[in-house]
Amino acid sequence: MMARHKRMVVVGCIVAGVALAAFLAMQAFRANVMFFFDPSQVVAGEVPAGQRFRLGGMVVKGSIEKKPGTLDVHFLVTDYKHTVPVIYSKILPDLFRDGQGVVAHGTMQAGTFVADEVLAKHDEKYMPPEVARSLKDNPPPPDVIPGAT
């Protein structure tokens, strides 16, 4: 029957399609997946130069500096061992505050993390899991982070 041959062709097309999709997925993975680093890893130079990554840690209390009249914000992100300066020039999320956990996307440029996206969660008790894990080995000084137990 012709139908059987045709069906073999269809099945062949499907297999080829799936293989192509898997290939594209792997390619896209390599180009678009971001890794997480904490300030100690950044200071230790573990981040490949020019690579976009996610930086996570606590916003140092009192470190948020806004340049009056502009969107530029500077702040420090710490894991209580090392600290990385961050610069950002878009609108900050509502829950961004000092003394809280934060995750930012961006690149290192001349010792400063230039962020293009800052994530703070819609719950002030919430701690990004990666930040929580990174801090587990460095217990913060008491009463520095409210609610982060």
Binding site: M1, A3, K6, R7, V9, V10, I14, G17, V18, A21, L24, A25, A28, F29, A31, N32, V33, M34, F35, F36, R54, K66, P68, G69, T70, L71, S89, K90, I91, L92, D94, L95, V103, H105, L119, K121, H122, D123, E124, K125, Y126, P128, P129, E130
Partner: protein, 652 residues
């Protein structure tokens, strides 16, 4: 006293769900009519009891009973009554109760509308649903009791999370759950068919309206959530590939595949085991969605709290349900052979392509969503998969799907005689190319290469789906609700694609610092920051800006973006100012006081964005229409070769 009554009702409901499971499954296995007779009363009783529990919790919320921990954590004396009721599903415990209640509603509906089905089959369906219900009731009572008391009683509650204090969000979870839980019915039908060892075209006919209905609810639920994120979170977009958005999208994609595969099973008795697998998969993904949201393993706006016990419980339940169903599948599915054959160009073949591509799309979302979790589990470095990954891969599955929809809609069952439809095919494509390119280049200007492709494909889908109904109207043939529903849903798909192409390409957005009287230009439009004034609400205060939008110097709209400070949780919330025109949204969100008299303002112009949600509405409406088609109401048990089905071959 009332909260204890609610808890007691839940415990009784658990007992009844056990009875429902046991007598439903064992009664059918033993062909014991007296055992089976227990099932329907158990279903009804469970519905009454869980409703009682819901009523008890609502009453605690409405009457400010802060001695109940859940009420104290999620409401406040200043919270308006509407949100005190909606606060029921504002957090984990109440959401689970809502889940269980919606399941009891679906089960009750099955109990009522399954009287014309074979008794043992109906009994098994309800038995499986009882098992799911039992799992959720145990989960609720053991790990997440919403009626837990707190001592000492706080003077006031900690308030509902301010981001949830919004009308769209108040109805988003119930609708979403209607969809999630609705797939439990399709799942139960699949399990019952496997237990019976019999799956015929009549089975597909019984299953279709339930599945389509669940799918319609899920569509609306997802759209409402997306709309809420757009205007309430001030993110200014319709989809962010947030893990929890994805968690609801996966069952939707597989559910879409399922309703199409069911069409082939009903009309031609094909794809039987594939349909079963999809039914299992759709519900498993619904459960997985619940697990991902509730366990806090994902980094997302939705993950309220991380509680490992709860996560482990749902994971265990997931393993039992999916594992059990798949074991049953491995054992029984080989018995259910599809006998009919079909040509490559036949409608069945196109439904197969549709299924492959939809499942591939689901797999893409699945991989992207779970890759970070899997990397984590194997101790690999922590990774995140962002929007670029999804936007790059998703079209790979979607674009061919759109083209195949436009072609496959003209195909007839069994025989691949597409050549006879050549005039329709070429005419449809020609119209789509001409109109599409005209729209893209005349109205907007060239974007990326993907833009004209998307718009043309979208128009092609719309035009193609109109041929058959228009032809029927011309020949004064009747238009069944099934055809009307299918047409509407496909038009919705086309509209959605066009809207997404427009939003993705022609959006103009800028974050700027503005002082009073200053303006920023966005294309032909300008946003002028006029003034800022104080604002007071029932449980918040804040500021409200007046932003005038000018087009070619003429004012066209005034936007009022707000920045609210909710007193109790001391959280700040952005309320975007949006003016919708027929072809675009003018959007402004207020950022921070930057000092020196300036405020940060997020100004955006998004063409056609409302059509994304309108499209979801069209799809859902199409689903509702199709599910209410007359032939599903027929009480006559259908036979394997149904002449009516053969006559209505065009109606899928």
């Amino acid at each position: 006293m009332i909260p204890e009554l609610g808890q007691f009702a839940l415990i009784l409901a658990l007992v009844l769900s056990g009875a429902q499971t046991f007598f439903g499954l064992a009664g059918a296995a033993r062909r014991d009519e007296r055992w089976q007779a227990v099932v329907r009363p158990a279903v009804a009783g469970q519905f009454v009891l869980i409703s009682t529990a819901i009523a008890a919790l609502v009453s605690a919320f409405v009457n400010f009973d802060f001695s109940v921990l859940y009420v104290a954590s999620n409401s406040n004396s200043a919270l308006p009554t509407f949100y005190r009721v909606a606060a029921l599903w504002g957090a984990h415990e109440g959401s689970l109760l809502l889940w269980a209640w919606i399941l009891s509603v679906w089960t009750l509906a099955v109990a009522i509308f399954s009287r014309h089905l074979p008794a043992s089959f109906a009994s098994r369906v309800m038995g499986v649903l009882g098992f799911v219900s039992m799992g959720f009731l145990i989960f609720t009572l053991a790990t997440s009791n919403p009626f837990e008391r707190i001592l000492p009683v706080p003077a006031d509650g900690r308030d509902l999370n301010p981001v949830l204090q919004d009308p769209a969000l108040a109805i988003h979870p119930p609708l979403l759950y209607m969809g999630y839980v609705g797939f439990a019915v399709a799942f139960a039908f699949a399990c019952a068919a496997m237990l019976e060892g019999k799956l015929d075209q009549a089975w597909a006919r019984w299953t279709r309206p339930w599945t389509t209905l669940a799918w319609a609810f899920l569509s609306v639920g997802i759209a409402l959530g997306s709309w809420w994120a757009y205007y309430e979170l001030g993110w200014g977009g319709y989809w962010f590939w947030d893990p929890v958005e994805n968690a609801s999208f996966m069952p939707w994609l597989v559910g879409t595949a399922l309703i199409h595969s069911l069409a082939a099973t009903e009309k031609r008795g094909l794809f039987k085991s594939w349909t079963l697998l999809l039914a299992i998969l759709a519900f498993s993904l619904s459960l997985l969605g619940t697990f991902l949201v509730r366990s806090g393993v994902l980094v997302s706006v939705h993950s309220f709290a991380a509680d490992p016990t709860r996560g482990m419980f749902i994971l265990g339940f997931l393993v039992i349900v999916i594992g059990g169903a798949l074991t049953l599948y491995a054992w029984r599915a080989p018995l259910l052979k599809s006998t009919a054959g079909f040509d490559v160009g036949a409608r069945e073949a196109f439904l197969l392509y549709n299924n492959v591509l939809l499942v591939a799309a689901g797999a893409i979302v699945f991989i992207g969503t779970l890759a970070p979790l899997i990397a984590d589990a194997f101790g690999a470095p922590s990774i995140s998969v962002g929007t670029p990954w999804f936007t790059r891969l998703f079209p790979v599955a979607m674009l061919p799907l759109l083209a195949l929809v436009s072609i496959g809609i003209h195909a007839s069952w069994k025989q691949g005689r597409l050549a006879t439809q050549r005039s329709r095919l070429t005419l449809g494509l020609a119209i789509a190319i001409v109109v599409g390119l005209l729209v893209v280049f005349a109205a907007y200007g060239p974007g990326r290469w993907l833009t004209p492709v998307g718009v043309v494909l979208g128009i092609w889908v719309i035009v193609s789906s109109l041929f058959d109904p228009v032809d029927r109207l011309r020949r004064r043939l009747s238009l069944s609700r099934a055809i009307l529903g299918m047409t509407l849903a496909h038009i919705g798909l086309g509209v959605c694609v066009i809207a997404i192409a427009a939003v993705e390409t022609y959006t103009i957005e800028r974050d700027v610092a503005l002082a009073q009287g200053e303006s920023v230009a966005l294309g032909r439009y300008a946003y002028r920051f006029d003034s800022i004034e104080p604002l007071e609400g029932p449980n918040y205060d804040g500021v409200r800006a007046v932003v005038t939008v000018l087009r070619d110097g003429q004012p066209v709209a005034v936007l009022h973006p707000e920045k609210r400070n909710y007193w109790v949780q001391r959280s700040t919330l952005t309320e975007a100012g949006i003016h919708s025109r027929w072809n675009m949204d003018l959007f402004a969100a207020l950022g921070d006081d930057l000092g020196a008299g300036r405020w940060s303002v997020r100004a955006q112009i998004r063409p056609l964005i409302n059509y994304v949600w309108l499209a979801a509405g069209l799809m859902a409406l199409g689903g509702l229409l199709a599910a209410s088609d007359r032939r599903y109401k027929s009480k006559v048990p259908a036979t394997e070769t149904n002449p009516a089905a053969a006559a209505g071959v065009q109606a899928s």
